[in-house]
Every structure is written in structure tokens, then in C-alpha cells.
Symmetry: D3
Subunit: 314 residues, 6 copies
């Protein structure tokens, strides 16, 4: 198969040579905004929406990458084009990372710097998440709390993510396969390191407001699918009690679209199986993107694991 190429500030590099200076502010300060888009059948999904959010992030971070959104879109399509030969039979991620550029070792922020633009692709490897489509994952709340928006707003999609990593590791103490769901300072549900959270209560699809969470494009799409399917939706403050007593729950994120959660802090969510509203929304996603997202993931598993999984499904 063809080699994957990473775009860095005007040039393309094979992955093994795709590097940035250790003095880049991405490394020195986590001062880097980002987007992750995926393709379905090699068509990027809502790429323009991702690019627009990327520019919002840059604006709030007070830097300009030197390209217009249109230029960024063209460039991104070129990166995909160049990499497609490496993705026969497999969808891909497209990841943008844009840092403020070289790090000023003194406190002097006034030096003009050239931002670092990195665009890479990656195989849409779904094997980690695939079993969750069938049996659901285990959602766990860590003791650490979400960074509040008045400190760093999660709506800025950024790479200063140590807080998420540490919280996720706390969750792994409960279950090595746990998927974290952070609480805010008031104890309300927010998001996790890469996804939003939803639950179903008496037929209504509910998800936290975005006061302390990214307004995920997958989140928005899921709300739209639900509305199209006639499922009532509500963006509101949710608490652990709501998950314990919900009928269904799931995460949303770019790679897996919807990841059912059938346990929460050690207790079953609803009946402890992937529920009917979640199934309808998964189907809605498959219809929207033109491929069966569950089958795509399951096909990546070895045949015996897939069969075992399906046999133990309810």
C-alpha cells in the first residue's frame, strides 16, 4: 500500500519523518488548536464545519494561520487526495493541528511568529470501539473535575489536554475499558476527552449544554438525526442521577459517531443493553453517511472475536 504523507507548513513528509521542532509552542505550551474530521467511503464528513470551527478556535486564541478558510479547505482536500492511495478499503481521519509557532523563551509574546500548520491522516481503526456497538461501554465519572470555561473554554478545540488524560486514567482504575465522563465543578455531566454524552429518558434524547463541553459536530449531527426521526431532544444540565436512572446512554465522537454506554459507574444503564433509541440513531447515522457504521467497525475485528461478540449480544 502507498505511504501516508503528512503536510507541515507547505511540505509533505512520510509519517516517520513528520516532525516538528521541540521548540514549537505546541510542544512547549500545548498552544495548539485542532480538528479531527473523518471520511465515509472516502468522502470527508462536514469538512467545512470543522474548518469553520478551527478558525473560531484560532480567533479566540488570537492568532492567524495565514490561510483563509477556503485555502484551508482546498489544502485539506489536497492532503486527502494525496493520501487516498494509502487507504484502499479503509476510511481515514483528517487531523489539523495548528500551533502559534516557535516558542518565545522569555515572556515576550510580541515577537511575530509563523504558525505551524500540520495536517495528517490516519486509518479509521475502529477495533477498540467496535465491541461497544454490540455490548456497550462502561461510562465512569472520575474524581477530578472538568476545567471550567472561565479558565479554558472547551469550545476552543485545543491540544492542552492533560486534564482529560489524567481524568481518563482515574476512570481506568475502575475498569481498564472505562470511558470517562467528566463532571463540572457543580457536579453536572460535561464531556470526555474526545466525545459528547447523551442519554434517553422516557423517549427524550438529552445531552448537556455546552457551557463546559465542546459543541461537537457529531453531537450536532446526532441532534439533527434525532429531530428528523421525530425523537424529542433537549439540551440541559444533567447529573449522575440522570444517567443511573436513564433508559439508554451513549457517547458521540467523530470516529465512532455513536458509542453506546450500557454501564455507568458499575451499574447497568436501563436494561444494560444497547437500547432502541440508540439503535434508531445508529441506523440514522448509517443512512446519512451511506454506509453501515456498525458493520464497518465490526468488519475490522478478527472473525472469531466478531462472532463471539455477536453471540454474547442480547
Amino acid at each position: 500500500m502507498a505511504e501516508r504523507l503528512v503536510y507541515i507548513n507547505g511540505d509533505y513528509y512520510p509519517e516517520a519523518e513528520a516532525k516538528i521542532s521541540v521548540f514549537d509552542s505546541a510542544v512547549m505550551l500545548g498552544d495548539c488548536v485542532t480538528e479531527s474530521t473523518r471520511t465515509f467511503n472516502h468522502v470527508p464528513f462536514r469538512l467545512r464545519d470543522h474548518i469553520e470551527r478551527l478558525y473560531k478556535s484560532m480567533k479566540v486564541c488570537r492568532f492567524d494561520c495565514g490561510l483563509s478558510p477556503d485555502e484551508m479547505e482546498c489544502l485539506t482536500l489536497e492532503v486527502i487526495e494525496r493520501n487516498l492511495p494509502a487507504y484502499e478499503g479503509m476510511d481515514l481521519w483528517i487531523v489539523h493541528n495548528i500551533s502559534r509557532g516557535a516558542y518565545p523563551p522569555t515572556g515576550d509574546q510580541s515577537t511575530k511568529r509563523t504558525p505551524t500548520i500540520i495536517i495528517h491522516t490516519a486509518p479509521m481503526d475502529l477495533r477498540y470501539w467496535a465491541p461497544f456497538y454490540v455490548i456497550g461501554c462502561h461510562a465512569v465519572t472520575p474524581p477530578s473535575r472538568m476545567v471550567p470555561a472561565q479558565s479554558l473554554d472547551a469550545k476552543i478545540k485545543n491540544r492542552s489536554r492533560m486534564a482529560y488524560t489524567l481524568a481518563e486514567l482515574e476512570c481506568k482504575l475502575v475498569d481498564p475499558m472505562a470511558q470517562g465522563i467528566l463532571l463540572d465543578l457543580d457536579g453536572c455531566l460535561t464531556e470526555n476527552k474526545g466525545g459528547n454524552f447523551f442519554l434517553v429518558q422516557e423517549g427524550v434524547l438529552k445531552t448537556p449544554r455546552t457551557l463546559n463541553a465542546l459543541n461537537g459536530i457529531t453531537r450536532q449531527t446526532t441532534l439533527e438525526i434525532a429531530r428528523n426521526l421525530g425523537i424529542p431532544t433537549l439540551e440541559t444540565d444533567l447529573q449522575p442521577y440522570d444517567v443511573y436512572t436513564a433508559d439508554e446512554a451513549f457517547f458521540t465522537s467523530t470516529p465512532y459517531c455513536i458509542m453506546p454506554a450500557t454501564r455507568f459507574n458499575g451499574l447497568p444503564v436501563g436494561e444494560g443493553v444497547v437500547g432502541p433509541v440508540t439503535r434508531r440513531l445508529l441506523q440514522g447515522w448509517s443512512d446519512l453517511v451511506g454506509l453501515d457504521i456498525v458493520q464497518q467497525a465490526l468488519q475490522q475485528l478478527p472473525a472469531d472475536q466478531r462472532e463471539e461478540l455477536l453471540s454474547c449480544a442480547p
Copy 2:
């Protein structure tokens, strides 16, 4: 002059070639701990203390870099040794950056990864701060608030620092030369992107507790110097009112040791000049490290700028 060399996982690279993969978790997640040590007359200052704090940071972040603290100390001394030829007549920074290693694109944190160990040096360029020794800097509180410790504890010296960067840029709206001092969620003083804060009230040297701030080694050293000089010290909660009505104020950080602050949010601190307790502490620092830290900085300025500065000093 000789070329500077950067240590990365066992090898030495000239600075221009010192790079890490764009897939490193330092880049992808800001998942990187750090220390910055400096030399005085080419002797590293409290290197062992920095290394011990580095290992505390790694422990709390739940990863192991594969070297013992002793090995890290030897390695660091070797990095300095190799770089000293490049620092004739100039002191240097020694910076450790250790990330968790390659980034797992799925949520799977269980993969064993090799941490990335980077040790680089940098010239102790003090020109940005040098004028502040004479006329003091302008400390400014931004509207954004410090990340609270229950989200990400500042005592973990880490590279997920976008919050500090954005807050600092807010301060620059008030004054392009402003030095930020963040407030915590209760409105108490914490620290800034690289330093602790002190003030003097009626002869007592006060500094915020470390509930939402790094326990800086320069902070500790300054407290020790004060105690040796018979200056009473107090670690306590401080508020903007305390700075407005203080007699003196300053920041502490590795490169500059003490940076006097003579204005606060547009108002003079005390008489608006570098005060006597600050001067005694600066002298105490010079005595401790065996060189005149103020002169070292001023000597880096062009002669005319230096003279102008000294002529306008009170």
C-alpha cells in the same frame, strides 16, 4: 561559537534538527511534564530539586520515563557538559520535557508506550526582563481565571499551558509589556505562566499558598533568603486589594530570580519604584549564587539602552 545540542531519547541533535514526531502525545495532548533549571556561572542551581519535582510530576501523571532520578541527574549534567562550549560568557537554561510518548489515536490508553525524553539548553537571554530590575514591571490581572487544582493541579509542572497563554494575551491588552498574575475562582492571587508572586506589607513578605500555584523552587529559595535576612514571611491567601495597598511586589521565576513589579492594574505599587525589601532580596540572591544577578541582566542590554534606563531610575 559551538553549536547547541539537544538530547532526545538517547541521541544528540543540533537545534535545527531537534524534532519530535507530530504524533507524540506532547503535541497531540499536551501530555508532557517539564522542568526549567538555570546555571549561575555555569553551575546548575538546585538541579536535584528540579529533578525531584520532575519525578513527582511524572508520578502524578502516572507514567515512568525509564530512568532513575540519579540517571536523570547524570544525563542532565552530561547535556550541560556537551553544551557548555556554546555558552562562553553566558549562563544557560536546562529544560526537561518528558512526554508520555506516542499518542494512541483510539481511546485505548493501555498500550505500553515509550516516553519521549527531551533535554535542551538555551541561552539565558535576560534582555526582555532586564529593564524591570530598574523600573519594575506592570502586573495585570486578566479576566480569565486560573485552572483550579481539582481540574489540573498547577503543582504538576506541565506543558498543557494554553490557559496561561490566553490569560497572558488578555493582560497584554492593558499593556503590551504587562506581566499577568492570574486570580483563582475565588478571586485570590495565584501565579502567572512561569512565576510566583510576592508582596511586601509593612515589612512582611507575603506570597500566595500553593493551592492553585506551582511551589516554585525560586519561590522557596526566596523565602529562605528572606528568613536568613530576618524578613518575616507569610504564605497566605492574597487578593488584588493587597497588591494595590502593598509597599512592594515582585515575581519570582527561574531565569530572573526576582522581577520587581511597580505597577498593578495601572496603579503604582507603593511608591511605584523598586523597594528596599526587594533590593535586599535581590542582593541576597546575588550573594547566594555568587554573581550580581541584576548586573548580569543589565550587561546584556545595549549600552545606550542601559544608560537611558539607569538615568530614568529613581
Copy 3:
């Protein structure tokens, strides 16, 4: 022109003689409720609504001014009537200030006191704000936080406003012409010293809830105008990120109705110009009140300033 007269507890005084005792609780305790109403073409706008809110403020403050709302309305109309000769060709403010009366120097609050009722008028001098209709103002968030409702509810329109004054002065450090917009303790937008705040995101007009803000009559009127124009509205929690990424933003207050904000903390709001939704709402206001509110303000400027302003408008 005729002299303006101030009503104080039953008598009328020329402005220069309109005084209250230095022992009044307005002076000694800021213990005073207030309303500011304006006229359009000499017709007071929603005077009854203002009077009703004034009585709500008095009730919550636990004192009774001795007049019924009807009597207060009649009296107010009389004050206007008496002052109209002084306002040829100019609209006017009508300001009510009602304090609890004389201040008891001991802690004894049980003494029966006679409230001090002051009603004055003032010329509707719009020169300060006029340029903002054309080029927009600069909205800035100060580091100080809004007084929370459980300490003193902003819905009580009161004269204990030092917190607003100090916050406004903090904003002026960023820009001498800045218009402050305070954040609450959670970092959400509230109001400023005399106005509410709105923004437009993808065609929806949004404004903070009134948990920590006055429910302004201009705010209510603007929401009504929007609904009449078919513009969707939403009262919700808003954060700085929302302003940075909004298409348009503005303040509302009695004198200027709508004051466009085209910059926020140093960054342009949307395109950095007065936007189309704001223009429609300004037009809606003009239609409602029967005069062109923008022209009224601009006409107060010297001709050369007005022309320069209009020439530099987009």
C-alpha cells in the same frame, strides 16, 4: 432656555439647589432605589413599567415611599410637564431616586424614617454614544466579577453601584472608550453598569438570563421587537467564547436603546461592523418610538465629526 427643576419630597428646586442632606441614607449607605426613563419626542417611554419596577425594588428593600404607584405616575408626569420648557428640541431622561431617608447612626433600624423622593430630568445628551451607532463600541470584560444575586440582586435597580464603577474603570485600562460587560462568578456574561448585552449567532438573537442582571425594560422591548420582526430569540447562559465567535453584538439601555459592539476584548465581533440584525432592530426601535434614534444621536454631534464618522463607516 427655561431652567430645569428637581422634585425633592414635595418641592421643586433649580438644579444648582437640588441637594439632599449628607445624612441621608442614599449618601451614608447607598440605600436608594432608582429608575431612569426617557422620552421620545417628549413622550415618556413605558413610564408605567418603570414605575412598577421601582415599586418592586422598594418592596424587596422593605420600605414604602408613601405614594401609591398611581400617585407616583401623576407626580412624574407633573415633573416632566414642569421641565418641558427646558427641553425644546431635545428629549429628556426622567430619573427617580428614592432612599430610605435619614440614616440612623446607631444600628437601630427600627426608627421610622421618611423616605427621600427625588425626581429629576436631564437632557438626553447622546454625543458620547453617537459614534457607536456607526462604528460600534469596544466591549471589554473586567477581571472583577458581578455581585452575585445572593449578595445583592441586580434585579433590584439600586444606587449601591461602586462595584460597577470599579469594574468599568478596569475596562478603561484596555481602552479608554471600552464599555464593560461583567462576568458572573461562573464566568458567564451578565450586564454592565447600565445596560444589558445581546449577541447574534447564526440568526438567533441571544441574551443572558437575568439571574445576575437587571431585566431591563429596553432589554424586554428589544426582545419584543425581534419577535415581531420574526427574529428568533433565546435567553440563555452566554460565555466570552460566544461573543468572540458571534456574528453581531450590542448593548441595550434606556438612553441609546441599542449600542452596537463591534469589538470584544480587542478582537472584532463578526466582521467588526454593525451587522444586519442589529440594523433591523435599530430600525424596529425607530419605528416603535416614532423617530429615527440613530439620526437623533448623530444630529447632536458637530457636523464635521458626524461627517468624518459617516465617511469612515463601512
Copy 4:
């Protein structure tokens, strides 16, 4: 007896004519700082400390009254001098109120304004508090919470005091003679509208830190007296539980120095009587100021009330 004279911006007025414009920012914005000093035997107590705090308040409020502290001290002594004939046999308050001056009706804060300096005196009428020396007062916590320092710092002694007034009125619902003691947002004790709070636990004199309270001069003096008497002191966070279980409690404020509190929220404090540490401190105060402060107050009561009071004392 001679007439009392009020100083206002350079002139002296009989009390009944001591007035300020209704357009002053003291009236319009509560934008006024203040001090209250008292005399003992016609000698002002720590006048210089009060004046220094007044200048701190002005500084933090960002205005300058046009007089130096020395000039203010001289002026104050002159005001006392002129008024002494009116205070035969009675001590007096000296009250400074300094506002920013005329109120700018538009948002324009840049206009240069002349501050309003008011200095008045008042008889040290202690009749309201006198019984509390004998039987103690009833301290009550209201449901409203102290304004937090990040909104308006209580260490700025200011006249925007509506929050205190409303909280005090809530306390009067429990007991018309109740003396309020406000809690901060975390539920810790702060201060009341004019005084600090102390309690005695197992021989240690404790008082809240000044994070959300004025650092009263009477508070400081009481701590000094205690230290001179060998009573251990502690400034720390205190909660209602601490008062319920304390041995003794009292308020401190300029007029009464120490006001014993023998009930708290309906329950007795300790034995419900004025306790021995409080008595020692009262004696210490009398010794310091050269008159028996309790007797001075009791002598102001009608003889029959005084006797009844003393007879019912324990």
C-alpha cells in the same frame, strides 16, 4: 450648646444646611469611600490609621481627593476643633465621606471631576448598644451572603452598603434587636454592616480572616490588647458551628469598641452571659483609652433603665 458644623469642600455648614447635590456620585452610584473615627475624652483614637486606610480606599477606587494625608489630618483636627464646643461632656464621631464628585450621566468616565469631601461629626450616642454591655446582644446570620471580594472588596471602606442593609433587615425578622453577622459564599463568618466578629474557644480569641471583611481598626486594637494581656489569638476561617459551641462571642466596632453577643441564632453562646475574656478585653479597652467605656455607655441611659438592666445582669 453650640451648633455642629459640617465641612463640605472647603466650607462649614450647620447640620441642617449640610447638603450635597443630588447629582453627586455618592448619591447616583454609591461611589464614595468613608471612615468613622471616634474620640475618647475628646481625643480622636488612631485618627492617622483611619486616614491612611481612607487613602488606601481612594487609591483602589482610582481617585484622588486633592489633599495629602497630612492635609487631611490637619483638616480633620480643625473640624473637630470647630465642633468641640458642641460636645461638652460627650465624645463624638468624626466621619469622612469622599465621593468621586459629580456623576457623568453618559458612560463617559474620562471627564475630570472634583471629588466631594465631607467631614462631619456626631454625638457618640451609645444608648442603643449600652444594654448589650450588660446582657449581650443576639447575633443572627441572614440567608443573604456577603458580597465576595472579587465583586467588591470589603477592605475598601465604602458607602455602597445596600447589601448590608438588606441582610440586617433579614436578621431583624428573627429578632428586632438582632445584630447581623453575614456568611460568605462558603458559609464562613465575615462581618456585619459596621463591625467585626470575635469568639473565644477554650481560651483562644478567634476572629475571621479579612478575605471578606474589613480589617477594622477596632479589630486590630482588640487583637493587640489581647496579645498584651497574654490571651492567645488566631485569625482563621470560622463557621456557625464555632459560634454555637464557643464560650464567648462579641462584635467590635468604632463606637462601642466591644459589644458582647450572648445569643446566636436563638441559642445561648456559652453560658449566655458576658464572659470573662470579654470582660478582660473591655477592661483592656478602658485602660487603653483612659475611660471606662462601659460606664460611659451606661451613663447615657435613663437611671431607671440602667438600674433595671444592672439588676437583671448575672
Copy 5:
């Protein structure tokens, strides 16, 4: 009349003998969930809803009582059946208390324990509340704050209720007949020890969200009745200001359905009388349950008290 019988873990006991071990975790830890249902004309009201909430409470508390919800419903009906002879002419409460069982004196929570199931009935004695239907009650906010959901979620209907009891006693200091309404940590209205709170503002029926309050079945029913009557409803954050300025207010709870509140912290709510919306909702309740709930309560009063009450009603 027949004797009342209490069900405890499989057996029936006369009330005087209905006891549980002092080692039960209900006694030792307040570790007990609960429901209170009432009958109207001996028909239990929404019993199934109560049982379902009971099972939600048990789930969140992580224990299983050993019976299915269906079995619990049958058992409950049997308890009612057995007790009905004791309730001629009077409705009854049905109270479920289910504790985790015996208390493990060491920290060892892993021991398997048999939950304690208690079902008792009680006469629907409405005499305490009856006058409030006519003249309304006095709602009072205590200084203590509601336990936040991240500490113990009020949506778990539980018997660890000391916080409510102490807050209620604080309210009784204001008025021995006061009905408490607790504020949350942000100063918003929540609930009281056994009921939810509603108010009417300009024709809209509003009640706090359930972030810090039980989602009462009476609350839900009242909202349904309102919607059926065409009264607009809103679940939102409410503050004391909203009650002070409301037109009407009331509590809802199982025994009394709706209890009008005509005073709030010493001030009248609206006109200080039971208002028209409250009356319509009371009528709606009577219609729904097939008996006049107000008359039922008033009939329990002695005739003279009832007459006096009705004569003093507006």
C-alpha cells in the same frame, strides 16, 4: 376502630410494636430510601409512580430489596387492604422505608445484608396545614444551604434528612409557623423538607428545576393539571427576588397537594392572599382526585376554628 398494622420484612405488627433493631443501617447511617403515597377516598394516588421512583432510589444507592416492583406493588396494596378498617372516613398515607439492613460496624461494606422493608400507614391528618388553604402560609429562607447534588442528590428520596430538619428550625426562628424553602449554593430556590415550590408571575406558573430538588410526583401532577388548564408553565432557576415580586406562590407535597404561601420572609406575596391561579389549580386537583381537597382538610378542624378561619379569609 381497628388497629393499624405495620409491615416489617414479612410480618405485620401493631404500631406500638413496630420496631427495628438499633443496629439497622437506617438508624446507624440514615441509609434508607423512602416513599410517601397518599390515598384519595382510599384509592392510592399514582402508587406505581412512587414505587418506580423507590426502585430508582435503591438502584442509585446500590442495593436491591429482594422484591420486584410488581411484588412491591402487590405487597403495598395488601398493607393498605389490611389497614383500611382502621381508616373509616379518613384517607391515609402509605410510607415505604427500605434500609440496606444491618450495619457493619467495621468499614467492611462487602458483607451481604438483608434490606429492611418497612411499610406503614398513617392517618391523613391535615389539621396543621388546613388553615394555609385559607390564609396561606409563611415561606422563609434559612441561612443554611441545600445539600448539593454532587454531595447527595435530592432526587434520591432518602431518610438522611438532618440538614432539612436543622434548616427548618432556623426558619422557625422567624415564625414558629414558617415553612422553609432552602436556597442552593448559588442562592436559587430548591425545595423544603417535604415539598416543592411554585410561583406565579404574570400568569406563568414557574417552579425550580430539579438540579437540587426532588422531582416530586405532586410537582409533576401540578404541572400536568396546569397544562390541562391552559396555564403556561416553566421549569427554571428562581431566586428570592422572584418570590418577593411574584403574584402567587405555593408548595406542593403528597399530603396537602398544594399549600398556598402568602408571605415570604415577612413580606406579602402579591396581595398577600391565596390567588386565582392557585385556586384554579386547587380546583384542578380536586377534580382529578374526585374529592374537594380543601374541604377535606377544613373538615378536620374543630368547627369554631374553621369558622373563625373562614371569617378572616379575604
Copy 6:
């Protein structure tokens, strides 16, 4: 062996018959205060201190049990005396539970009720904790937060402990043998369901302040022992970072005195073994109480378990 007898309101009952009414407010409201004292060699330890705290709890809860502290002490000694025959060769707990008495089903709190006084004993069974003396326990922070003092002060030793139970069960998800340590709303360490927490940092013994924790008598005693041994002590705010980087940690509580904690949230504390300061304090405890508290616990284990444990100890 003799039968144990429980005292309930004047009578003695064998344990199996020691019951209280299901209508008691301990059961219905968790409205019950408590103390747990233990004996060493059959001598009760600081019984008077426990009784005094019990009376403080009752006072703050606003009820009176009808006995004086002296009477309660005599009664307690009598309960011990009567039960000693049942404790040959074993120490015992003495537990006081005092509830407000019968529960008023209506909101009427004014009814005079007779408190329920229960005093029971229990064998000092230390087998659950014994291994922790040798290998240390695993301290874990749950996601739920401590009830804040302004909701219910932990210094009131009470039986409304569901919040502690649920938090403890969350910790057991991490490790079935975990010992919880709750964080307060700011993320600082507090206490757990029955004990205080200490850590050792560079030779200093630190423990959280009691703002959100019981001031345990074992806590006080441990501080006293430390001071007597010349170990510096500090009561201050502590955070998870402090435990991760501490040298040693332990819990204190009545039954086990000191329980070493050698792991914290999955990571070793210090070297992961019981440290030298902890050992000195354990020895200090043994010296104080006149028996080897570690041996006492280990002797309760089966010989083979004890040997295995000691062999695996470091």
C-alpha cells in the same frame, strides 16, 4: 459468655430485643447525633471528651436529651459496667445514639418530644483493619463530594450519613478494600465516613483543617502525640497532589487509632510501605493507652493469616 445489654431510654435490653420504633426520628429523618468511644484494657478512652462533643452536637441540633453531661457520663459508665462480663479478653466500643424522638408526620415541629437515648456496646473487632497495620490500606477519592458545612456541618457528629455510604461504595469500584477519602467542593481532602486523614511531607505531619470534617478525638490525640514526640504538625488545606507526593499517609479513627495508607488512587504513597513517622505514632499510641494496639489487632486474626501477613510485610 455473658449477654450484651443495650440501654434505651431507661431500660436494658438484650441485643436481639434492642429496637426502636419505626416512627422514631432517627429512622424517619436521620435526626440523630452520636458518639463512638472505645476502651483500652476496658478503660474508656477520653469518655468525657466524647460526651462533651455529644452535647455540642445536641445543642447545634437544638434539642436537649434531658440528662446533664455528668448524668450521661455516669450512665455510660453503668452501661459499660453491666456489659463488661460480655467482654472478657476483648475491648469494646461504647456507642451513643440520641435522636430527637418521635417523628411528627406533619410539618409541625413545635410538638414537645422525648428524645430517644440509646447506648450500646460492641466488641472491638479489628480483623477487618488488622492487615492494614502491616501492609497499609488503599485510600481512594470518590467522584462525589463532601457535604459542605453550610449544608450540614460534619463537626456535628450525626447519623444522616447516606452521602458517606454512597461515596464509599464509589471507592469500592476501584478496589473492594479501598478506604474512601472525600474531597470538598474545592477539591481539598476532608475525611471519610468514620475517620480523619493525615500525611507526612518531609517530616511534617499534616492534616486537613476541620472546615469540612469532624474534629476527631483520635485526630486531636494523634496531633498531641506527635507534638510530644517532637514531630512538627500542621493543620492546613491538602489536595490529592499532596497525597501522591507524600512520604506517608494514614487515617485516624476511634477503633484502629491509626490506619496506615500505602496506596492512593492506585499509586504507592512514598515507598508504598508503612513509614517511620507512622510507626512512631503507632508506638506513641500504644504507650499512651498502655497496650500494643497493633498486636491487639493482629492477635484477632487467625494464626495463619497473621503469619502470612507478617511474612509479606517489608
